[in-house]
Subunit: 255 residues, 2 copies
């Protein structure tokens, strides 16, 4: 089991893998870096949509590390996505030459944190069993907009045996800083999801007889907002390829 | 028992009382209105100090109501405090003629929300018994600054019988959006509080034998930051004279 600095060193050296299962007990985070001129609108968007965008940390403009991330934000994630005017233009393993002095970086809670708690409570997590990325879907639910920032809610899905759905709600609601309780249980059609086997991000997973699809707000929502809102420039993580922070999961558990 | 619109109508008509005990079950909030040029620094200050400044809602510039407050933010609180360059220059029951088109209003969680839960769990709340305002103290703990915004942590204090302190922690930690768990238990000297009988805001309360002073982060912290940071203009509520919102306390309870 690697420590966060050891894992970040491997990613800095070029290792490109999803981070699910890495550094158990250490908090993983979604990343979004935007020019300072967009920072207020995005911070307000996050405040208005806290289940999708729980902000764990925000840097000063140009900073390359954060209070909960002692590494280099430009190199120490396994993969990045680069957006210009809302269009995904590149995916790469470092963004050193793209960095600007006015970039403000947001670290946003990730549901990987509560998956360890789900497993401990006896709730199976299919995409971990399968060794794949969690399936994520754009929904027909609009986030509450803020200034120039708007977009749809993105959700992650985990199939849960019917007799464990209540346990999954109880366990994850104790982690509001990492998306908290589910936003929807069952009935994917009501979220505008017609085909669970075709996720918009990540990998499809098997749903077995007696299992219910349970949906949590997802930290890819900020990147969906970037695609819709078209800031001139933005950098995000590649979905599932997270920032491994120096914060402990236990610090985000309530009560 | 009044509804929030009924209570706000009384305050609009000039009633000036602390709101503790008003509209049980409905969420009360701290208010801070700042010109737009200070909004990002304050929102970031709040994000970095979430126990003291849990943001429940933020208006667009100039708006006089909020998504969780259908009344008029300029008239429907019992009393307001007006700051110029960080100095408290006025206390009044409405601020209509002071309002500006660029004012952004922040509604911030208030510990009055969890007091009903404390009482229900059998934890006495002394200032409610006494019919007085909760005692609040400036501490020697610095908040994490953001841009031009900095200031000390302000705490509220409730004396709790020693055998109920653990219960008080458990109950209040379920309400992170309204200050959550205590920040300090016992030993006021370590917070730089030399004399519990002389609070900086609100009223002193009796501490009986076998009771421990328990300290929660307080929503007056933003006004202490205004006094330190000296924005050109700011409007806050008078301590204890809160905004009564249309949100229900139960919506902020976890899990």
């Amino acid at each position: 089991m690697l420590t966060p600095p050891e894992a970040r060193e491997k990613f800095r050296a070029g290792l490109r893998v999803p981070t699910s299962g890495y550094c158990a007990g250490w908090t993983q985070a979604n990343l979004l870096s935007l020019p300072r001129e967009y920072a207020y609108d995005f911070l307000l968007f996050a405040q208005r949509n806290p289940q999708a965008c729980p902000v764990l940390d925000v840097t000063e403009p140009g900073e390359t590390s954060a209070s909960i991330f002692a590494g280099d934000l430009r190199t120490d994630l396994p993969a990045y996505r680069v957006y210009r005017d809302g269009a995904l233009v590149d995916e790469r393993t470092e963004v050193v030459d793209l960095w600007r002095d006015d970039m403000v970086t947001f670290l946003i809670g990730c549901s990987f944190t509560f998956e360890a708690a789900l497993l401990e409570a006896g709730v199976p997590v299919r995409h971990i069993e399968a060794g794949s990325n969690v399936p994520m879907y754009r929904t027909n639910r609009e986030c509450r907009p803020a200034g120039g920032m708007s977009g749809p809610l993105v959700v992650s899905m985990r199939p849960v045996p019917a007799d464990l759905v209540a346990t999954a709600v109880r366990v994850t609601s104790r982690y509001p800083a990492v998306h908290g309780a589910p936003v929807h249980i069952g009935a994917p059609g009501l979220l505008g999801i017609d085909d669970l086997s075709s996720p918009d991000f990540g990998d499809a997973v098997e749903i077995r007889a007696g299992e219910v699809p349970v949906f949590w707000a997802c930290g890819v929502t900020p990147q969906a907002a970037v695609m819709r809102s078209k800031p001139s420039f933005a950098i995000g993580h590649a979905p599932g390829h997270m920032a491994i922070t120096d914060a402990r999961d236990s610090g985000f558990q309530l009560p």
